[in-house]
Symmetry: C2
Subunit: 586 residues, 2 copies
């Protein structure tokens, strides 16, 4: 196994054996460790001393179900914290198949504005990966839906990581995009502005062709197979994850009605927890709308190889042709409910434009909502929201304001109700209505991030326990446990977060541990997982502290403490001491 | 003596006796104490819980020479730290004459976009100040050079504090402006975006009419008079401050040639310490240019009543009519050398526009330079710089980006070479060429601020000692001593910082201490001053810590550590430990 280092200052590269200390890591555990060990915490995120790191999960590239995640890490230009953002794509198993445990992009060309792409393939003769750099200027400034087909035509059946114009413009809202199973530029490591970090290094695409590569080594095949089977059985059994279950039928957008019912669906820039138009954009509406337009029921597909859950939907136009894939819950909410927009065709177009331009849908939607708050558009005006999205795509001054995310837009436009933590906008769960997720937002090492410790499971879905969403009681413990578990069990192993929905079936967790032990030859027990996760969080926290973050930054924005949120009409009342207890006792 | 509290939520007010703990304070000492005691450190600077505080210095309003400063404090929207910004104006003695030790503006109207002005006059019958609120919407969006004459016409001989369109737009670069001796809207408490704080409270102007007011009480008149005479003698003797001395002849812009010679004049967005066009914009060029255009020598005037130094210049057009007053060193540098502009008529027009729109010249100039770095204009293009200034005045999207200051503009435009500390741009002294001032920038409680601890005196001017500007040796001690002394001896007493130029004459410092003791009836010694100043710094530091700032934020931007600055070709090499020692040993 290797660490491949690319130096963009002179476009050189080094392939080195994985150091011992990194051998048992993968995914977020590895990206965060390398950042912790090598990136100066006070470096400018877009300067020459930041590093961009790609790492497949520990089991990624094997037959482990629902495990094709790629972790991308760097110091974030959006949050100025450490950042790990992950996506599901064939790109990750392709990197893993070439036995590259981490790809580290370093340096920065002197010449600004010139872009390169890197082609990484398997050299059969040498028995190792081969790197080539090619000029990429011809693709700069273009719609990714136009660029990706050109790249597939040029390179054949490859996997592509890339950035859109949002990256080219160095926006703090710019994602890293990976191809889905049919080559769409649609699977985003969206959060935290990692596209801008890649752009700052003059790198536009990374094209992988693993043909002939040996694949991931497995230390104990029998144990691994047993683990994979346990996990697969659990995923095929749990109501949420099973075939034709909630996710496979309605996609993640099944949460729209659930969260709306709970009064925790942030609406019109976090001014209410309930949206009158929610049913019109809910997962059920997507399923029914497709049925009407296609004349048949359409179940969802996988975003990446080997996924059992298969939750990715496709929205179709009135004539039955594809509009966009996929309208995730977060996208549907950010560009729908949070902007007061209840028309699925408008929401779908906004999602499509995010994919085309290289924007994170969450950050884009919360930013447009803040712009609406500032009076740049009426809440609910989908056409105007689409125009604002095009401003971002064109890089106009207004587009640059919006493209740099919610915090910056709120600052520039003078909006006090700016729903951000550590510079990153909140996702689709209202902390005033779901107290535990607010603890995760406040204390996560990543800024406001639901995936960092998804307390929604016990607070709303009744999975992994059941607690009152409106009560702060015991929530520091829940958030801490979820943050630690997540850091390892999904983000480091390479599994999708959604395996968590099957966690009430004991074999689910056990299966993952068996898989990991099978691949690594370790003897981790289920009880070790929280410790392994906590160790990752501690490294991330250490980086953030050295970058200037303390418990004072582990707070929700002030307005949530004095603005009452309908329908529950309460404020965010979790005491600071509770927030401090999350890491204080880690 | 009273504290006058205005609540803008319902436009009510309260006049209360000064609490005992505040009786010996004034100026910055008082604004920072009230903020420390009352403002929630994590409040949104433009939200309802911030407070805007005006406080004349301890001796302001008396006959103490060069002491008509007004301190304005709040949590800053530019830096998110505590902020005190001060200006010289007749407004301050007018407030003091009404025996108001602090005017505290609190609350926020529900209705957004509506503006009020407050009229404060002396009620002879009641023997106390009288407050009235009047609608101010008619003045919103206008050039302050047009508004101020209207206000003088309406209210007669009054003093006015106000905000321009930069405030109306809630820019983080928006100053509080006060009238000069001929009623120009030109004396700015410019730094830190305090105009936006005032605007966020729906307050556009504060009009003072102290007619009939009793004036400032003096406990020991003889001691006070003696102190005033000592100070006046010192100011009339020192080369820099004496009549027809350096400041009275060439204004503060006399520093242009001096700093250029030292290789410490930041040029073209901090890419060099020397500007080939410096002589064309230097104080000497202003003096000679005026002489040519007016046909006679013109010495400078006072910005405020009772000033002996009289350093405010006026630049004239080719036809001999006034263009603008005053072209300070900082303005001349920021809008001149730092933008590569060497034409005084362009610089003067840029200064005039800052006054007209309500912008801080330092922040405006450093922002335009960052915009030039981003390619929005060529360095040296004065006409284009003027256009960019008009964008700010019009509130276009680009104008809003620039109006929110250098840090935001650098972020939005993707410029890594962004010369800011804690969100505030550096003023006119290059830290790589003058190490001690870099320590002040890094560690000041205010963000990058030369006035917080003006080590330029010993490092460049040979006043209050003489040290090598390029050496870090002993500079933590110098910066610490200057920061502590400044916090009291000028910022709290109400004297102008420029009395420091006479500090090598012992009677200067003694005179100030005698004045203070005369007014307050205290028995402070010269040795007490550093302690009094340190106490203020500790309160400011405590606020900042609770607002999320630690020693990690006491750093210069990363680029100064790896980009070598001509002509000395060195980087900023003061060790972090030295920076930490400043407050570590306070």
């Amino acid at each position: 196994m290797w660490i491949l280092r690319i130096n963009m200052t002179d476009r050189s590269y080094q392939l080195k054996d994985v150091p011992k200390a990194y051998k048992l890591l993968g995914g977020r555990g590895l990206t965060s460790t390398i950042i912790h060990d090598e990136v100066p915490p006070l470096c400018h995120p877009l300067g020459p001393n930041n590093k961009l790191i790609f790492a497949p999960g520990i089991v990624t590239g094997t037959a482990a179900p629902t495990s094709a995640r790629i972790s991308v890490g760097a110091k974030s230009p959006l949050t100025n914290t450490i950042k790990e953002s992950n996506a599901g794509s064939g790109w990750s198993p392709a990197l893993a198949a070439m036995r590259i445990k981490a790809l580290v992009v370093e340096g920065q060309p002197e010449e600004k504005g010139k872009f390169w792409m890197m082609s990484l393939s398997w050299d059969q003769a040498e028995g190792k990966p081969k790197v080539e750099f090619l000029a990429a200027d011809e693709y700069v400034g273009q719609d990714l839906y136009e660029v990706y087909p050109k790249l597939f035509e040029r390179f054949g059946k490859v996997n592509i990581a890339g950035i859109g114009v949002a990256g080219d413009f160095l926006y703090s809202n710019s994602g890293l995009v990976f191809d889905d199973l049919t080559g769409r530029p649609s699977r985003y490591a969206g959060r935290g502005g990692l596209g801008a970090v890649m752009a700052s290094k003059g790198l536009k695409f990374i094209v992988l062709d693993p043909k002939g590569a040996p694949g991931v080594g497995i230390a104990d095949k029998a144990l691994f197979d047993e683990g994979g089977k346990k996990l697969a059985d659990a995923l095929r059994t749990a109501d949420i994850t099973k075939p034709k279950g909630a996710l496979n039928t309605y996609g993640t957008a099944v949460l729209i009605n659930i969260m709306n019912e709970a009064g925790g669906l942030p609406t019109k820039n976090f001014s209410s927890g309930r949206f009158e138009g929610a049913p019109n954009i809910a997962g059920e509406a997507i399923f029914e709308g497709n049925k009407e337009r296609l004349g048949k029921e359409l179940y969802n597909h996988a975003c990446s190889p080997g996924c059992i859950i298969q939750c990715s939907n496709t929205w179709h136009k009135p004539d039955g042709t594809e509009h966009v894939s996929c309208v995730e819950y977060e996208s549907d909410w950010a560009l729908g409910a949070n902007c007061g927009i209840d028309d699925l065709d408008n929401v779908a177009e906004l999602v499509r434009l995010c994919n085309a331009y290289g924007l994170d849908t969450i950050e884009a939607g919360t930013t447009i909502a803040v712009a609406m708050q500032a009076g740049l558009a009426e809440f609910g005006d989908g056409k105007r929201a689409i125009e604002l999205m095009h401003e971002m795509g064109k890089g106009t001054p207004l587009g640059r304001v919006l493209g740099n995310g919610t915090n910056t837009a709120g600052h520039v436009l003078g909006v006090v109700r700016s729903p951000v933590v550590k510079g990153q906008s909140m996702p689709a769960y209202e902390p005033r209505a779901v107290k535990g997720i607010g603890i995760t937002y406040a204390t996560s090492t990543m800024g406001a991030d639901h995936t960092a410790g998804y307390t929604i499971s016990p607070e709303i879905l009744g999975v992994s326990g059941k607690t009152d969403p409106l009560s702060p009681e015991g929530k520091a413990e829940v958030s801490r446990a979820f943050q630690a578990a997540t850091a390892f069990i999904t983000d480091t192993t390479g599994h999708c977060l959604f395996i968590a929905f099957a966690m009430d079936i004991p074999s689910c967790f056990e299966g993952v541990v068996d898989e990991v032990n099978g691949v690594l030859g370790t003897r981790y027990t289920v009880d070790d997982i929280a410790k392994l996760g906590a160790e990752i969080l501690r490294k991330e926290r250490a980086f953030n502290e050295a970058a200037g973050f303390s418990k004072v930054h582990d707070r929700l924005p002030e307005f949530m403490k004095y603005e009452k949120l309908p329908p529950h009409d309460n404020v965010y009342d979790v005491p600071d001491e509770t927030l401090d207890a999350v890491y204080g006792e880690l």
